[in-house]
């Protein structure tokens, strides 16, 4: 069985992101990066499936320059078997990334593609569903539980939707997007990282993923949120009720 997991390199989740002078870019000089936490959930799930199934290969894929290799290695340290980096630079839009990944999927022919449901930097949440559309595969999003059938021909997924919990079945191959409560990822400690450095990390050149077309969505600039006027503290429930009345809220 082959599981393919896509991952994105994102800024450290607690980092304070500043806008650079001019406002058209971000000041990422002193920022440390990590594997997108949602993609980590996907990696962890793939590893759990591998452990349950016994024999499976977990391949992690990322689209980007050399700078995302530490993140791929981190995933290998968690236990993935192989990594693939599609060497593309510049500001790519979601569709381009999706097309690149779809090309890798066609080369690798995995049984299941796992991704985090969104990336914590741009929070677009588009790539995995786009991949599913490009491939014509069934998809499930906001997965909080995944169970494979005994014969591994389909997966039963519980999805956290607006109304509650929805259960669907997907015939493999399929694309599943991980949500927060899917699992708790294991820690990638240094012994794992050292073993990881010996695992294969293949680099695909742009020609190998075909024509992705031009980038048609780009970020033109950033700005900070407007400062909110400071609120007032009240000392008692009575005061609170009065304040709410004054604002005509009750």
């Amino acid at each position: 069985m082959k599981l393919l997991v896509t991952l994105k390199r994102t800024p450290q989740r607690d980092a304070r992101i500043q806008i650079s002078e001019g406002g058209d870019a971000l000041d990422l000089d002193n920022i440390q990066f990590e594997v997108n936490p949602f993609d980590e959930l996907a990696v962890e799930e793939a590893l759990r499936i591998k452990e349950a199934v016994g024999e499976a290969e977990v391949v992690v894929v990322s689209v980007g320059g050399e700078e995302c290799e530490p993140q791929l290695i981190s995933a290998l340290a968690m236990g993935a078997d192989r990594a693939v980096r599609v060497h593309l630079g510049g500001q790519l839009d979601s569709l381009q990334v999706a097309k690149a990944i779809a090309a890798v999927v066609e080369r690798e022919a995995p049984d299941l593609v796992l991704s985090g449901k969104l990336a914590v930097d741009d929070e677009c949440g588009q790539v995995p569903a786009m991949v599913a559309g490009l491939l014509g595969w069934p998809q499930a999003s906001q997965a909080s539980n995944i169970e494979l059938s005994e014969d591994r021909s389909f997966a039963t997924v519980v999805c956290e939707v607006d109304a509650g919990l929805e259960t669907v079945t997907l015939a493999l191959p399929a694309v599943i997007m991980a949500d927060l409560r899917l699992n708790e990822p294991r820690y990638a400690s240094l012994p794992g990282i050292m073993k990881a450095k010996k695992k294969p990390l293949a680099i695909l050149e742009p020609e190998e993923v075909g024509d992705l077309g031009p980038a048609r969505s780009r970020v033109a600039g950033f700005r900070a949120l407007e400062e909110k006027a400071p609120g007032i503290k009240v000392d008692s429930v009575e005061e609170l009720v009065r304040a709410l009345e004054e604002k005509k809220l009750i």
């Binding site: 450290q12 989740r13 607690d14 980092a15 304070r16 002193n30 440390q32 990590e34 968690m78 236990g79 708790e184 990822p185 294991r186 820690y187 990638a188 400690s189 240094l190 012994p191 794992g192 050292m194 073993k195």
Partner: protein, 672 residues
Amino acid sequence: MVELSTTLAAVVTREILWNVPPWARALMYLLFLAAAAVCILGVVRRVRAWSRGRESGASVSAGKAWGRLWRDAILQARIWRSGMAGLGHALVFWGFIVLFIGTCIVAVEDYGSWLLDREHLFFTDTFYLAVSFALELFGVFFLIGLVLALSRRKSRGRFRPLSRGVDLGVLWLFLVIGLSGFVTEGLRIAAAGGGLESHPFERWSFVGWWLATGLQAVDESLLATLHLGCWVGHMALSMAFIALVPYCKLRHIFFAPVHIALREDRKAGRYAGVSLEEVEETGRYGVSTPADFTRRQLMSFDACTECARCQTVCPATATGKPLSPMKVVLDIAGAGGADESLHGEEISPEVLWACTSCGACVEECPVYIDQLGAIVDLRRHLVAEGEIRGSAQAALRSVAAAGNPWGMPREDRADWAVGLGVPTIEEIDSPEILFWIGCAGSYDRRSRKVTEAMVRILQAAGVRFAILGKGECCTGDPARRMGDEFTYTELAGANIQTLSAASFERVLTTCPHCFNAIRNEYPDLGGDYEVIHHSEFIEELLSSGRLELEDGGSVRGTLHDPCYLARQNDVVEAPRSVLRSAGLEVVEPEQSGKDGFCCGAGGGRMWMEEDTGERINSERWRQLQETEPETVAVGCPFCMTMMTDARDAVESEVEVKDIAELVAERLPGSGS
């Protein structure tokens, strides 16, 4: 018909193996061979198991080993700490040793005289009397010790020992062997023909003599039969004991002294590091199977006497967690193959994560077992497997990425200092003190107040000090206690670079964890600095007159000793002296100083949920409240958090304040 060697009446001695017919002798030799074989087999098996461990560290010099043996084994020095339990063991131990020596003397006399074809060798006259008396005396000590041990099973004290089948069985076995020895002797003295008056020197064997006087009326041949029966029983039980030794807690008779003598020098507050190269080479990190322990560690686990004292002092065990240090040790000792994983249902992640690394177990163990070291080694394996989840994992990641366990921005580390006139190390040349703030003191709202109080104290005393500012990052203590040596080594390495590039006389810190790490553990990585805890430094300032405090009346209070300060670094008196100068009437709780009870935050537990049993901090709070304090003084940001939480949980009005805060309140002009 009883034989009496007429020559005996002339010599002061006794006939060895009197009344023991050849078949009984043969039985004795047979049983002895069997018992010895079984015993040796057991010992060899265990020693072989140790040999599957790793090589480790420098071996102990012969002189040091003998010295340790003399002190702790012969003199029972460490045992005496334990009051009545110590007395009991010492009596049993010395009793046993002397009785054993006595048996050896008798054996030598027996075989020696046979070999050299002499009537007697040396076991006569004064020597005989001296030995007989000594044996009698120590035999009595032996029995007293056993009775003490048995009666302690009924006590209500904190250290009430275990009363499992094996514990009672072993004591009763000894008791019966001891009593049967005296009874056999009594019977012999009574039965040896000619009446008691014919060998009055036997009074030196005063117990046997006393028994014999009571048996005067009994028919001699009956006495002889009884004597034989008793002798056979005593002999058989003794052989059974010999065979039993390696198969139960009694194995400590052999292994404890060996371990005590040859043990590695490990301190609870100073973990054995692991280098990257080592891990790369061996592909191994932490302990998964017994073979991953060092040989001496494996030996140490077999030294366990199953006294359960470590378990008694363990805060996790006391609050219903599945962790017991003794059980971990015994589980390892009793493990199957050298290559079978130790991790499983018994040594589960829950057990291993329950440890607060307080070191009470190590402090208490009478045979110097390093239970904490074993737990940490096992934890490291969990971390290597990625088996650290939830808030603990988040804290570990934050420490590595942001240099503090809360993931707060590095740029904000010195924000607390804004407006306080605190110079950084770049701004001041060779200050007397480098004030190491620590993560809590930099970022935690409550702990910042302690940092501020300390700054006021330093300024009031006119101390030339500086801080590292943003150049400071976590000492790595949380990472190390949680089992991630690599994050620890990285952080420590960075700090050592920063510290070594700076010049200052001493490092001052308000956090015992930082204190312990920089002082005891950084030297292993090349960072040797003089480090002082703020309680010690304030004491210095007060006694040298550099700091004076206003009088403000006295408040009744108590001190919760930080584990990493008192137990692991022997700083017990300084905080008390400082608190008294600050007007706190220090009332001691039952457990204080090196016997203090952990607040529950150590070992990385600060960042873990506590779902099982009672909360450790609540239990400690309860203990402290018995002193009826108005204020609970702490000397550590973790203890501060824990005690404050425990206080809030019961909605008490008792104050929780750091030593620095209490002192700062008494600074001249602070108008407390």
